[in-house]
Every structure is written in C-alpha cells, then in structure tokens.
Amino acid sequence: MPEPLLPHVLAFVTMLALNAYVVLGGADFGAGVWDLLARGPRKDVQREAIAHGIGPIWEANHVWIILVVVLLFTCFPAVYAYLSVALHVPLVLMLFGIVLRGSAFTFRAYDSTNSPVQKWWGRIFSIASTVTPVVLGMSVGAIVSGAIVTPPDATFTARFLTPWLSPFAIAVGGLTLAVFAFLAAVYLTVEAETHDLQEDFRRNALGAAVIVGACALATLITGRETVSKLTDTLLTHTLAIPLQIITGVAALSAIAALVTRRYRIARAAAVVPVSAIVWGWALAQFPWMVPGVHSVTSAAAPAVTQRLVAYGLAAGAVLVVPSLWVLFSVFKSDTMSAFERVDTAEYRATDTPPKERS
C-alpha cells in the first residue's frame, strides 16, 4: 500500500464515525430538545415515547464520539493536541453537557418515585441535550473557518474565546441543533404508537426542517464573509455538484415523504442530506484537518501505528457491526411497541410463576 493512502483511509473512517455519531447520537440529543419543547395535551405521552425510543440505544450511539476521539489521538495526535488547546473552553462546556445529559436521563429512568425530583431530571436532561449540540456546532464552525489558528502570544480572549464565538460559528451551532432536532422528530414519527403522536412529531419535523433551512442560509451568509474558501470549494469542487444534487433531492424527498406521511421513507431520506453536510465540511476543508496548520498527511502518526489501527478497526468491525445489528433489530423493529415491551418486562419481573420456594 503506498504510504500516503493510509492516512486518508483513516481520516475517512474518522469522518465516517463522526457521521454515525451525527445521525445516531445526534438524534438522541434532538430527542431531548423535543422533550424540552413538549407541549399540548399529549406532552407526557410525547416524553414517554422519547424516553422509550432512546433508552436502549443511546449509550451505544454515544460510543461513536469516543471512537472519533480515540482515532484522532491515535492516528492524528497533533490535530488532537491542537484542537484540545484551541477549543478548550467549548469542549469543557460540551463535556458538562454530555455528563449532565447522560446521568440525568438515567436518573430519571431509574428514579421511580415520580417525585418532583424526577421532573428536575427531565428538565436537566432536556436542557443539556439542547445546549450540547450548539457548542459542538460552534466548535466545528471554529475549525472550518480557520479561526482557531491564532498566534500563541494572542490575548486570552482572542485565543480561547473569539474563534468559537464568531457569527459564523454561532450559525453552525444553530444549524447543528436544528439538524439534530429534525432527525429526532423524523425518527420519532416512525416509532410513535398512535396517529395523534405521529402527527405531533410530523409537525415538529416539518418545523425543524424550516429552521434547518434558515440556519443553513445563515451559515452561508456569515460564512461568505469569513471563509470564502468554504463556499468556494462547495461551489467549484468536482464532487461538489453531485453532492449538492444528492443533498437537494434527498432533502426534498424527506420533506415530501413527511408531508404525505410516508414516515419510513422520510427516515431513510433524512439521513442523506444530514450526512452530506458532514461530508461537505470534510470536502471543504480537505486536505487540511486544522486549516493551514495540519493536513491529513502532515499530522498522521507513524506508519506502524496507522497500520495497526487499521487492523484493529477491521477486527473491531467484525465484532461491532453484527452486535449493532442485533441491537437495532431487537429494538427498532416494529413487531412490538416500546410500551408493550416495557410493560411486559415489568410483568415478567413481578409475576413470574413461582415454582415452589425452598
């Protein structure tokens, strides 16, 4: 294998893991947004549907971000180190969000007292789910705009705050949140039990789609001023046109499927434009990982490490892919509703036929 190929493969796999995090883990955050925004006569039912939808899977979905981090520090240690310093503040904020989101969700699930305390867990879970994606998006915005590249003698504010607080970064933060919320609402339409609930989530999904559009526009406007290269690449790169056509067609099909209530199709179609945003970012920045500082090849770890990680990933995929398939086929098939599932589990817990006690 010619040497320069491997870093590109590993960078590709890292992006793939990030893509998986966005479409799977992102939707778990988005679900928290709908928990926060639950309104109307069915708000408790909505919240329950959300809890049952993400309960079994959020931890597995969460591991994708760990995989991204581990790949980054093993294969591109210089990039990991650079980003850790430059984005210290938003990353710490994001970690707070991740910790609060995960623990509050679990505490709520296992605190069966139905006390006001439980409401507070719900509140913490949903607020953390809303703030975290914004900060994640702002960090990405700071990277892609190249704003994180600052001279080491810059002031504290210029070095650690301004890069991720630019209008562009904020727009990307809003876009991230809107996209996650959109995905979650679309997935929830498929999982909803009743027609009413489906209608609720359908309305949410369509609303989120409008906001995604607005945020996308905002990133283009703010982005044109600060990072002309981003928009340039997205308009001129050979892959850019097909990418944009696919994105456009898929986005329109997702909306059309929602409008016509074909939820399964909407779910399949919604993943495409979201992934396209991730890959659009990768393409816009390529070959740079930190614009102008570290490229895929210049930041790569020594070849031995890359080769071993590639083997490790291959072996890991053999283990993880079938396991993931089991997880999703057990919980995301439609043979039994989430509610029945949990009810029967409780039933079985307490009412198992007692054979004679000894």
Binding site: H62, F73, T74, P77, L95, L100, G102, S112, P302
Partner: protein
C-alpha cells in the same frame, strides 16, 4: 484529570464487578427458577445501568481531558499507546450494545440469549478495564520506541502495549475490581441481614457476592506481592517511597505504618520487621534494597503521600483477605456465612474498604511515579497545557462529580437496595 479519574475509577470498578454478579444471579434463576434469583438479577441489572451510564459519561470526559490537560503528552504518547485505547474503544462498543440488549431485552430475547448478552457485557467490561491499565502501565515502564533527540522513533505499539508492567498491573486491577465489588455488595447485604437474618433475598445476594469477593480478595495479596516485586525491579525510587525507605541497605527493614520525613530522612513511628523488606521485594532476606538517598532528590515523589497511601491499601487488603479466610473456614465447616453474626458485622464494616484501597492504590502508582509523567522520559511539568485558569473547570467538575456521586448513592439505596417486593 486526577479528580476525574478518581471519580471514574469507582464506576469502572463496579462496571467490571456488577455485570458478573448480575450474570451469576440470572444463571441461578435459569437453573433453579426460584423467583428470588430473578429479583436479584433485575435489581443488580438496574444498579449496573445507573453505574454504567455515569461510568460512560465520566469516561468520555477522560478521553477528552487527556488532550485538554496534557496535549503535549498525548501528542507524544498517542501513536505509541493509542493501540490499547483503540481496542478499549471496541470493547466499550460491545459493552454498551449488549448492555442495551440486556436491560431492555428481558422479554424480547430467549432466556438463554438474554443471559449470553449479560455475559458479553461482563466480558467486554473486564476487557476494557484491562486495556486502559495496559496504557497506564506503559507510563510506568515505557517500551516500544527509541528516543532520538528527545523524539520517539522506531515505534512498536504492540511492544508498548505489552510492556513489562502491563501484566502485573492488569491482573492486580482486575482482581481489585472483583474484590471491591464483591466485598461492597456482601457488606451491604450483610448489614441488612443483621436486621432480618431469614430474608431469602439478602441471603442469596450475600452468597453470590462472596463467590466473587473471597477468591479475588485472597488472590489480591499474591498479586500485590507480584506488583511490589515488579516495582522493586523497574522503579526502585517508587519502591523506596512506598516503603518510606531512605537508606540503601542489605537485609532491609520492612516498615509498617510510620510517617516519612523527607527532611530528616527517617520514617518514625513505624513497626519495623528486620530483613522483611528485602525478602518481600526480592525473595531474598539479604538482598540490597536501594533507599531514596541513592537517587537525586529532584527525582523523589512526595514520599509521605506515597508511603501512607500504600499502608492504607495493604492494610485494607489484609482486612479483606482476613474476612475472606473467615468465610472459607465457615464454608469448610459447612456453615452459611449469613448465620455468623460477627462475620456479618465485619463485612458490613468493610463495605467501603475496596474503594478506599483502589483510590489509595492509584495514588501509589501515580504519585509514586512523579515527577515523571512517563517514567524516565517526560516530566509532568513539561506535559501540561498552556491554558490558564484551569482551576475553574477543575472546581466545576469536582462539584459536578460530588453531586453525581451523592445522587447515584441515593438512587442505589432508595430504588434498589431498600425497596422490597410486596
């Protein structure tokens, strides 16, 4: 970082031990079909769920914090020890997936498949713990690279992962996880049994917990001795600090207790056992054991901290082993441990012992390695981030962790231990 680790390690230890307990209980249920076992398996799986979630999020904090606090270290060490971390990531994946299947799949899977999902959780949890410890062991005995002008070249990540410290440390840590969880669970149920000796639920729980606690606590002594012999060979400064041993001597004295004084270079108030240190460290009563004075003072770790932490770990380990021996004697005499009131009291007292020993053990390893972050290669002071004002996130995370710790303890108590089915 040390704060996050100290917090994470509690959950990691339970994350290794609890799935095993839960799987054993479910196996008893499958065999005997006595409802008490199912009840036990369900409660333990709820406990596992809470502990795992907090373990997972605090672990995520760690994977970022390595970079947030030690960017230079990671830039240097990432390619060398990324291997165990990558494999650990795969183990996490498997664990998180099968935990989801296990927790939510009671009625969706056949009983047998469900049990195997639990086994997958237990195995991958243990394996992930082992891989992290491999990475940590590398910091104690760095291998798998050559230094040229202060830069690592000729990397061999496999050799780095399988560094000489890896095996003794991973063995010791894994046993610690089982011993700690086993003793803690046994202690809680022993305490409940003191009030209601006949409760079949607590009797069953105590029995399973002791199956794990007893062998692990007894083996822990052997494994600890192995670790100490290893440290004696590869990190003589650390050994001298562990033992509060300042002067190089043959037939060196073992000191139990005492408070090392770096200025006077003595460890007063200790119980001294002549020649025992030489024997424990090198299996020879007359072997020479290097004292701290044989090394420049700039290479000393904080001696008192390390020595006292070591005494705490060994002391608690000895108590845990004593309790285990007691159980073994009862087993041999065919008496149920649940019927011995003094043993129940002893076990109840030991509930937190394992956790304290684990924290103390990590202080021994980590502070004992100071001033090095990578033994003999990179100093801790050179690895730290240029970020100012670190005290802010430190205090914030500390407050968050204390808060979470209290909540978890309360939930486990109120929702799982205290409630009894009607």
């Amino acid at each position: 970082m040390a704060m996050s680790l100290a917090f994470h390690i509690i959950f990691a230890v339970m994350g290794i031990g609890m799935p095993l307990l839960m799987v054993l209980a479910e196996r008893q249920w499958l065999r005997t079909r006595q409802p008490v076992w199912l009840d036990l398996a369900k409660r333990w799986s709820k406990g596992t769920a809470i502990l795992f979630a907090v373990g997972a999020v605090s672990g995520t904090v760690l994977s970022f914090e390595l970079g947030l606090l030690w960017p230079t270290f990671m830039e240097y060490a990432g390619p060398i020890i990324g291997m165990p971390f990558s494999l650990e990531g795969i183990a996490f994946f498997t664990e998180a997936i099968f935990l989801g299947v296990y927790l939510y799949g009671w009625t969706k899977l056949s009983a047998r498949a469900h049990w195997w999902a639990g086994v997958a959780v237990a195995v991958s949890g243990t394996v992930s713990g082992i891989f992290v410890v491999f990475a940590n062991a590398w910091m104690n005995s760095p291998t798998g690279f050559t230094l040229v002008d202060g830069k690592p070249v000729a990397l061999d990540p496999i050799a780095a992962m399988l560094n000489p410290a890896a095996l003794p440390q991973a063995l010791h840590m894994t046993l610690a996880a089982f011993a700690t969880t086993g003793i803690a669970v046994a202690g809680i149920h022993a305490w409940m049994l003191r009030k209601d000796r006949s409760s079949p639920f607590h009797r069953a729980a105590l029995a399973v917990a002791l199956w794990i606690a007893v062998p692990a606590s007894l083996l822990q002594i052997v494994s600890g001795d192995l670790s100490a012999k290893f440290v004696a060979k590869t990190q003589p400064v650390k050994l001298a600090a562990l033992e509060g041993h300042f002067k190089t001597e043959r037939g060196a004295t073992l000191r139990i207790g005492g408070i090392p004084n770096e200025r006077t270079r003595e460890t007063p108030y200790a119980i001294e056992i002549p020649k025992a240190l030489s024997f424990l460290a090198f299996a020879d009563f007359d072997a020479e054991v290097k004292g701290l004075e044989a090394f420049p003072e700039s290479d000393w770790p904080p001696v008192a901290v390390v020595h006292i932490a070591f005494q705490i770990m060994v002391g608690l380990g000895s108590l845990m082993a004593l309790a285990s021996l007691w159980v073994v004697v009862l087993w041999i005499r065919k008496r149920a441990p649940a019927d011995s009131r003094p043993l129940l009291g002893f076990l109840a007292l030991l509930t937190p012992a394992g956790f304290i020993a684990v924290e103390a053990g990590w202080v021994v390893t980590e502070v004992g390695r100071q001033p090095w972050i990578i033994q003999g290669v990179m100093r801790t002071a050179d690895a730290v981030t240029p970020m100012p004002g670190l005290v802010v996130p430190f205090l914030a995370f500390t407050a968050l962790y204390i808060f979470l710790g209290v909540i978890v303890a309360w939930l486990l108590w109120a929702q799982i231990i205290r409630t009894r089915p009607a």
